[in-house]
């Protein structure tokens, strides 16, 4: 369902970014980059307790005429950004949440791998396959 999924590290550099190759991927990269500002804004706007009350799912960050960008932040400030196509029957919020949950779970699995150093680009095949499965649904 998503056309682009990105995992951004705490320092706001991408750990993983994958988009459907249909369109110019650069555009998606740019969209993700610009959405980071919105993410930061939402994070800061949320509860003072840094993490406690903050909900992980940020919701719709900003819509464009073609796409909608959703955000999700983990407690370690790792952000997931998902760009979905607006032309699709509007995905329900719950679906987006479930997709982020799956992303989060897969990310946790990647983290559990002792061979993965946090901060490295994610090269896990399992993670890739999961992301691909989420993106393939679009078509």
């Amino acid at each position: 369902m998503a056309v682009c999924i990105a995992v951004i590290a705490k320092e706001n550099y991408p750990l993983y970014i994958r988009s459907t190759p249909m369109e110019n991927e650069l555009k998606f990269h740019y969209m993700v980059h610009t959405s980071l500002d919105v993410v930061d804004e939402k994070i800061s706007a949320m509860g003072k307790a840094l993490v406690d009350q903050r909900e992980l799912y940020l919701g719709l960050l900003y819509p464009t005429e073609d796409y909608k960008v959703y955000g999700y932040v983990t407690n370690s400030k790792v952000k997931f950004v998902m760009v979905v196509d607006s032309s699709n029957t509007a995905l329900r919020d719950n679906e987006i949440r479930s997709m982020f949950r799956k992303l989060h779970n897969s990310y946790t699995d990647v983290m559990c791998n002792p061979f993965y150093n946090p901060g490295d680009p994610i090269q896990s095949r399992a993670f890739d396959s999961m992301v691909t499965s989420m993106m393939i649904q679009v078509c």
């Binding site: 779970n105 946790t108 699995d109 791998n113 002792p114 061979f115 896990s124 095949r125 399992a126």
Partner: protein, 768 residues
């Protein structure tokens, strides 16, 4: 190589030497280390030794089988005699002196032996002796003379000089592998520096591994990276790293492959059993893995933390990316730790990768944790064995972040069951009993006299749900929700389904209140039938306590008492009573209350029964009223709810009253039968409103008549039983009403849905 013909002396000598080298007493393969030492002791130049080794096929095989050994010895003799080393020279050179080996070698050998022994110990775990290569037509005989000492002595001198004897270095890994392959690997690995033969050995190792049955030859457990790697890897200096070679595999030289990282191969490439599954872990391999596991984690049931595993596998010098992938594959439960099974799977994958096999995308089945769980003490292996989940207790930790594997296994079943039941349930099945129960409760509240029914009734709805929950674990879980659902609301689900479901569930509960809704449908009809029949019977026989009791007993487990009460009044009576009861319960709760006190007025019932239908109805109503409280225990809460709903509807129609009683009785007739089935049959049987009205009328009549019935002290038993029966009758009637109402409700809802759909369709661009 052509067959080797040995003279007797040669044979003896060779066999002695073989035995000498056969540290592990495998009788089949000699320890590479020993062999190498022996060759060194032969005071031959290294290259010659290498050549010999190559010629005899040991390099190819990766180990020294008996035939190879003999050939090698022969070649040593040939070389020592100054003849050029040729394959043909084995047999062509006549009268070759026995190969000479420096005796001094003994010391070194002893030293080495010590190391070897340590190795051998380690390797002892390796299974197997590699069977002598089939091809060599050598005669293998044991009896070795003491000649072996000779070569040793010479060997000693040579040893120091032999460059081969360099302290273990990576090249030696091959020798190590050899050892392993030979299973003799004793010590040789660790101590065999064999710098020269190093590279030589690797191919050996590979060759050996290659031999494993064929396909999956993992290019031999490439000599575990010379001890260094392995040591670190395995924590044990030598040896053990080498995987036990499959003797059989060794034989197969076809699949020899050079290990990519041969010399540096840390992992012992276990020759994959390759018989049928390239990923299968052989016993030797597994044993080796277990030993390795123990070095890191002594407790076989424990976990290896991710960091320790990382270090361990990093020694294999595989690229981190691949190691990461291997980890992902093997850490089945994604807990960041490796159980024994997971560790074995990971190790196996590393070895495979080392041998050049590509990593699979998914964990092969043979590596699933289950394997190990069942086989080894290590149970967990959640990682390695997917299967393990099913079998192993799934030690808690290994649960994937998203879900607990172990739980997954169990839960899915439960969930399914619960889901199924849930799906089935949604039904108000509970409703009926609850309704009735509720009515009973009301009755009881009003009338405190009721014995069981009162209290139970009051508690019933909750009890029922509780019971349901208690009764069937998962099922009830769903059922409970349903119950809550139904009780709270409604009769949305098909009463039929509900009834059946509820009954089923109830059956599970088996306990009291649910007993009313008899576990299986079959019992239900019985009560009804019995009731109907019993009613007649009872009436005819002027129910006696005994009969009543019998009737009660005859009642299907669900509600023993019911049949009687139902029976006593008669089917017709029951129905109206039920209907009336419903109505009366609701509208005439106060009436019901007093009716309940009339619990024991069986005698009255009898009287009434004899009198007229109405009286019967009344009696039934009474009985129902009384039965209800009694039946509450048996009736599921749903019945109460059903009763409630019925009562509600009945209230509306209460006005119709007695006039309809008679009418109501008839239609009510059918319902009483399958009291249990009411959920199903009732709906079908009863027309919606009419029956309701009729029922209400009947119930009202019955209820109305009930209060007038005084209690008789003298016939408490009968009275109680009669009241029980009445209550049951009422329950059944109410349940039926409930089911019917629910059915109606469903229909209405369906209509509503269809209308809504039409509306949506008609409404243009509603979504915009």
């Amino acid at each position: 190589m052509e067959g080797l013909t040995l003279s007797d002396a040669e044979q003896k000598y060779y066999s002695d030497l073989f035995s000498y080298c056969d540290i592990e007493s495998t009788k089949k393969v000699v320890v590479n280390g020993r062999v190498l030492e022996l060759f060194r002791a032969a005071q031959l130049p290294n290259d010659v030794v290498l050549q010999i080794m190559e010629l005899c096929g040991a390099t190819r095989l990766g180990y020294f089988g008996r035939s190879q050994f003999y050939i090698a010895l022969k070649l040593v003799a040939v070389a020592q005699s100054g003849f050029p080393l040729r394959v043909e020279s084995i047999n062509t050179v006549k009268d070759l002196p026995l190969p000479r080996f420096v005796a001094s070698k003994n010391e070194q050998e002893s030293r080495h032996a010590a190391s070897y022994s340590s190795d051998s110990e380690n390797q002892g775990s390796y299974s197997g002796v590699i069977p002598p290569p089939p091809g060599r037509g050598q005669v293998k005989k044991g009896s070795i003379s003491h000649d072996t000492v000779q070569p040793r002595a010479s060997a000693d001198q040579q040893e120091p000089a032999s460059p081969v004897v360099s302290p273990q270095q990576s090249p030696p890994t091959s020798p190590h592998t050899w050892r392993k392959h030979n299973r003799h690997s004793s010590g040789g690995n660790s101590e065999r520096p064999l710098g020269g033969p190093g590279p030589f050995w690797s191919p050996f190792g590979e060759a050996q591994s290659g031999s494993s049955a064929g396909d999956a030859v993992w290019s031999g457990h490439s000599p575990p990276p010379p001890q260094e790697n392995w040591v670190s890897f395995a924590d044990t200096p030598p040896t053990s790293t080498l995987l036990t070679m499959h003797p059989a595999s060794v034989q197969d030289q076809t699949t020899v492959r050079t290990v990519a990282s041969a010399t540096t191969a840390n992992e012992i490439r276990r020759q994959s059993s390759s018989y049928d599954d390239p990923w299968k872990i052989t016993d030797e391999q597994r044993q080796y893995y277990i030993n390795q596991f123990k070095t890191i984690q002594p407790d076989l049931n424990g976990f290896i933390p991710g960091s320790a595993a990382k270090e361990f596998f990093t020694k294999s010098k595989l690229p981190i990316l691949e190691l990461s992938h291997i980890w992902e594959l093997s850490d089945f439960d994604k807990d960041g730790a490796l159980t024994l099974d997971e560790f074995c799977a990971a190790f196996h994958l590393v070895v495979a990768r080392k041998n050049g096999y590509d990593l699979p995308e998914k964990l092969p089945e043979s590596l699933m944790p289950k394997l190990i769980d069942l086989e080894d003490a290590a149970d967990v292996g959640d990682q390695p064995g997917e299967v393990g989940y099913s079998g192993s207790p799934a030690e808690a930790p290994p649960s994937k972040s998203p879900s607990m594997p172990s739980l997954n296994q169990t839960w899915p079943e439960l969930n399914q069951s619960s889901e199924d039941t849930a799906i089935v349930h949604p039904v108000p099945i509970r409703m009926t009993p609850s309704k009735i129960h509720m009515q009973e409760m009301e009755l009881k509240r009003t009338g405190s006299d009721h014995t069981n029914p009162t209290s139970p009734l009051l508690v019933k709805p909750s009890d029922l749900s509780e019971e349901n929950k208690i009764n069937t674990a998962v099922k009830f879980a769903s059922g409970n929700t349903v119950d809550g659902y139904s009780s709270s609301d409604s009769f949305t689900s098909d009463p039929e389904q509900i009834g059946s479901n509820v009954t089923r569930q109830r059956s599970h509960s088996g306990t009291s209140p649910d007993n009313t809704a008899p576990p299986p449908p079959p019992p239900r009809p019985q009560p009804s039938h019995s009731r109907s029949s019993s009613l007649d019977m009872n009436r005819t026989f002027t129910v006696t306590t005994g009969q009543q009791q019998a009737g009660v007993v005859a009642h299907p487990p669900a509600v023993p008492p019911r049949p009687q009460p139902s029976q006593a009044p008669g089917p017709v009576v029951h129905r109206p009573v039920d209907a009336d009861g419903l109505v009366t319960h609701t509208s005439t709760s106060p009436q019901q209350i007093p009716e309940q006190p009339n619990f024991a007025d069986f005698s009255q019932f009898e009287v009434f029964a004899a009198s007229s239908v109405n009286e019967e109805q009344d009696d039934e109503a009474e009985k129902h009223a009384e039965v209800l409280p009694v039946e509450k225990a048996s009736d599921p809460a749903s019945s109460l709810r059903v009763a409630k709903t019925d009562s509600k509807t009945e209230e509306k129609t209460a006005a119709s009253a007695p006039a309809n009683v008679s009418k109501g009785t008839t239609p009510l007739a059918p319902p009483p039968k399958p009291v249990r089935r009411r959920l199903k049959s009732e709906d079908e049987l009863r027309p919606d409103v009419d029956e309701h009205t009729q029922k209400t009328g009947v119930l009202a009549a019955v209820l109305a008549s009930q209060p007038s019935i005084p209690r008789s002290v003298g016939k408490d038993k009968k009275a109680i039983q009669a009241s029980i029966r009445r209550n049951k009758e009422t329950n059944t009637v109410l349940a039926r009403l409930n089911s019917e109402l629910q059915q109606q409700l469903k229909d209405v809802l369906e209509e509503r849905i269809s209308l809504e759909v039409q509306l949506e369709q008609l409404r243009p661009f509603s979504h915009l």
